[in-house]
Symmetry: C2
C-alpha cells in the first residue's frame, strides 16, 4: 500500500522551497521558487519510474503506461505554486499524493488497463496575476490572448513572465489536450474548510466546486488637502470604497452561502495629508449556486452605485474572471465513496468553496475530488495544517479510486 512516511517526507522537503520567515511559503508562478519546486517534483517522478515531460504552459507530467497505451488516460494531480504567504499542503498534497500512488503501483507491480498520468499544474492560485488555473486553462485551450495580458503588481504580464521563464506564449496552443486522451481527472486536496473536522472524518467526497467571480472596482473622487477641505466638501474615494467594503460583507453574509472578499486595496496618491482621489480594490465572490452569487453581485453593484452617487465618486467595474460552479462526476463520486467504504471511512459529501484546476479539466473529461481534513479550516496561511495520518488516508483513497477508474 501507499507509503505515508515517504509522502510526508516529500511534503516536508517541498515546503523548504520558498519558505518564509514565519513558516509559510511563497512560490508565485514563473519564479525561481516555482521552478525549483517543479524540478524537485520531476526528480520524485523519476524516482517513481514515470516518464516525465513539461508542456509549453509549464505543466509538469509524469506518465505510467497501462496495458493499452492507446486508450484515454486517467489524470491525477494538483499544483505546486502557492499564494503570497501560503501553507505547505494546498497543492503539494495532490501532486505528491499522485506520485505516491504511481510509485506504489510500480513497486507492487500492479497493472492497469489505462495509462495514468500525474500533473503539477502551472499557477493554480492566481496569486501573482489575479487570474488562476493558468495551466489547466491552457490544457483546455481556453487561455485567451487577453488572459495572457493580465499583469502582476510590477506590471509584468503573464506573457512576459512566461518568456522570462523560457516558455513561448505564442505556442500556448500546443498545451491543449484532446478529450480523447483523457478518461477522468481526479484531485486529492486539503479541504481548506471545517466540515470534515466537524464530522470527525479524515477524508470526504467533493460534490462540486463553487464558481468564482473576480472583479476590480475603481473609485474616482477628488484628491484634496486633508487640513483645508471641510468634511462636507469632500469627494473622498477611500471613504466611498470603505462603505462598499461594508456592503460586500453585508450582502454576502445575508445569503448564508456566498462568500465575498476584498483582499486588495490601494489608495492614490497615498499621502497622509491628502484626501484619496482614487481607490482600486479587488472583489472575490463565490457560491456553489451561481444564481445566488450573481444575485449578491447585482445587489453590490446597485448599492455601490448608490454609495458613489451620493458621494460624487465615479465607480467602474472590471471583470477579471467569471466561472460557473463545476459539479463533480457522479461516477467518480461513487468510486471515491466505494474506496472510503473499503477503508472503513464513512463517505461524507461536501462542496468545495475554493477553486481547483478540475473546474477547467472538467471540460475535457469527468472530474472528481477527494478532500483531506484541514485543522481549524485554515488555509492560504502559514498555519494551514493536515495531519500525517489524514494525508496518508487521503492518499489511500486516491490509490483505490485510481485503481478503479483505470480499469474501466
Amino acid at each position: 500500500m501507499v507509503d505515508g512516511g515517504r509522502l510526508w517526507k516529500r511534503l516536508s522537503e517541498l515546503a523548504e522551497i520558498g519558505k518564509q520567515e514565519d513558516g509559510g511559503v511563497a512560490r508565485l508562478s514563473f519564479t525561481k521558487e516555482e521552478r525549483a519546486a517543479k524540478d524537485l517534483v520531476a526528480s520524485y517522478m523519476q524516482e517513481a519510474g514515470l516518464s516525465v515531460r513539461e508542456d509549453v504552459a509549464g505543466n509538469l507530467f509524469g506518465r505510467r503506461e497501462g496495458r493499452d497505451p492507446n486508450v484515454p488516460a486517467v489524470l491525477i494531480g494538483s499544483h505546486v505554486d502557492s499564494v503570497l504567504n501560503g501553507g505547505d499542503f494546498d497543492g503539494p498534497l495532490g501532486v505528491l499524493g499522485g506520485i505516491e500512488v504511481l510509485q506504489t503501483m510500480n513497486e507492487e507491480g500492479v497493472e492497469t488497463e489505462r495509462p495514468v498520468e500525474v500533473v503539477a499544474f502551472t499557477d493554480e492560485e492566481g496569486a501573482r496575476f489575479s487570474l488562476g488555473m493558468i495551466g489547466s486553462r491552457a490544457l483546455t485551450g481556453t487561455l485567451s490572448p487577453e488572459d495572457l495580458r493580465h499583469e502582476d503588481r510590477d506590471g509584468v504580464s503573464i506573457e512576459q513572465a512566461m518568456r522570462d521563464a523560457g516558455l513561448d506564449p505564442g505556442k500556448i496552443g500546443d498545451a491543449v489536450r484532446s478529450p480523447d486522451s483523457l478518461a477522468a481527472y481526479l484531485e486529492l486536496h486539503i479541504e481548506q474548510g471545517k466540515v470534515l473536522e466537524g464530522e470527525n472524518l479524515p477524508v470526504g467526497v467533493v460534490t462540486g466546486i463553487a464558481g468564482p467571480a473576480w472583479l476590480r472596482l475603481s473609485f474616482t473622487g477628488e484628491a484634496g488637502h486633508a487640513g483645508t477641505t471641510p468634511m462636507g466638501a469632500r469627494r473622498d474615494a477611500l471613504a466611498a470604497a470603505a462603505e462598499v467594503v461594508g456592503v460586500v460583507e453585508e450582502e454576502a453574509s445575508a445569503t448564508g452561502s456566498t462568500v465575498g472578499t476584498v483582499g486588495q486595496i490601494e489608495a492614490r496618491p497615498g499621502g497622509i495629508n491628502i484626501i484619496p482621489g482614487g481607490v482600486e480594490l479587488s472583489l472575490d465572490l463565490r457560491d456553489i449556486d451561481e444564481a445566488v452569487r450573481d444575485g449578491v453581485e447585482g445587489r453590490i453593484r446597485e448599492r455601490a452605485g448608490e454609495v458613489c452617487g451620493r458621494r460624487g465618486v465615479a465607480l467602474s467595474f472590471e471583470e477579471l474572471q467569471r466561472l460557473p460552479p463545476a459539479p463533480c462526476s457522479e461516477e467518480i463520486r461513487a468510486s471515491i465513496a466505494a474506496a472510503c467504504e473499503k477503508e472503513g471511512i464513512k463517505p461524507h459529501s461536501l462542496p468545495s468553496g475554493a477553486g481547483h484546476d478540475g473546474m477547467h479539466v472538467a471540460e475535457l473529461c469527468p472530474m472528481g475530488m477527494i478532500f483531506v481534513r484541514s485543522k481549524d479550516g485554515i488555509s492560504h496561511n502559514p498555519k494551514e495544517w493536515s495531519s500525517r495520518e489524514d494525508c496518508e488516508a487521503g492518499c489511500k483513497i486516491l490509490y483505490l479510486t485510481v485503481l478503479d477508474l483505470a480499469e474501466r
Copy 2:
C-alpha cells in the same frame, strides 16, 4: 513696487521642476527634484542681490542687511517641497514672493532698520516621511533623534535621506536659531480653502493654524482563504479597518470644525483570494480648537476599539505627531490688516486648516501669515490655482508688512 510679472514667471519656472504628466508636481524632500528647486531658488536669491547660505537641515536662506546688522531680523518665507501629486503654488508663492519683496527693496533703494531674511524650508509637507516641517523643527531645535528615524515607503529614514543628500544629521543642532536673532516670522501662502473666494477677496489675514494629530492604526486579524472561510468565521482586518474609516468620517463631520482623513491604507498579504490578516492606515485629525480635535480622537479610539473587539481584530495606535494649534501674533495681524487697508482691500480674518512652518517658528518669535485666494479651495492637487493678480496682491501686502515690521 513689486513686479508681479517677474513673480509669475518664476512661479512658472519653478513649476517645471518635478512636473508630472497630469500637470502637477512631485518634489519630495531630499530628492534631486527638491535639490534642483533649491538651486533655482538660490539663483533667484543671487539675482535679488541677497547673500545666500544653506544650513545643515537644508534650509536655504537669502539675507539682506538693514541699517543695524546686530538687531533681530525679520524672517519671511515658505517651502519648495511638494506632496506626491501637488500643485504649483503651495510653498513656492511664499518663497518667491519673499525674494520678490527683497529684490524690489534693493531695486528701489529702500532701507530698513532690521535685516530681512527669506527662507525656503526643508520638507514642510511631510509627504515623504509622514512627518512634516522638518526644516522649521530643526530651526527651533525640536527635531528629535526619534523624528529622524521616521521612514519613507521604501524604509529610508530621514537620517539616511539626509546623508544621501550630503547633509550630516549628526550636526542637526547647528541649524538651531536663537530667539535673539529673529524679530518676526511672516509667511505668504495660498489659502487652500474657499473662504476668500466666498468673500470675493484676493488676500486675507490668518488668525491661527489648526493643530494636526497624525496617527497610524494597525489592525491584526487573521488571514484566510477567500473561498472556504464562511463570512461568520472571519477575522477580516480590512472589513474592520473599513468600518473605522466610516467612524472617522462620522465623528469629524459631527463637530462641524474638525477634519479627519485616512490618506494611506495597506492590506496584507494583499492577494485577491486571501482575507486580509493585517491592515495599516494613517489618520490625520485637525482643528483650530485642540479640545474639539482631541474629543474626536477619543471617540474614534473608543468606537474603533468596539468595532475591533466585536470582530476579534487587534488594534494598536501609533502617534506620528501631535501639535497644538498655533495662534498668530496680534501685532503682525494688525500690521497685515493695515497693509490691506492701504491697498484698498478689506482685511478679512480667517484660520488656516493646513499646517505651516510658522507653527514651529512661533516658538522663536511672533508669527503671522497672509493668505492668497485659492480657486475652488483645491490644493494638494494638480488643479491648485491662484490667479496672477491675486499672487501679486499678496506679494504687495507682504512687501508693506515687511516694511512695517522691519522698521520697528
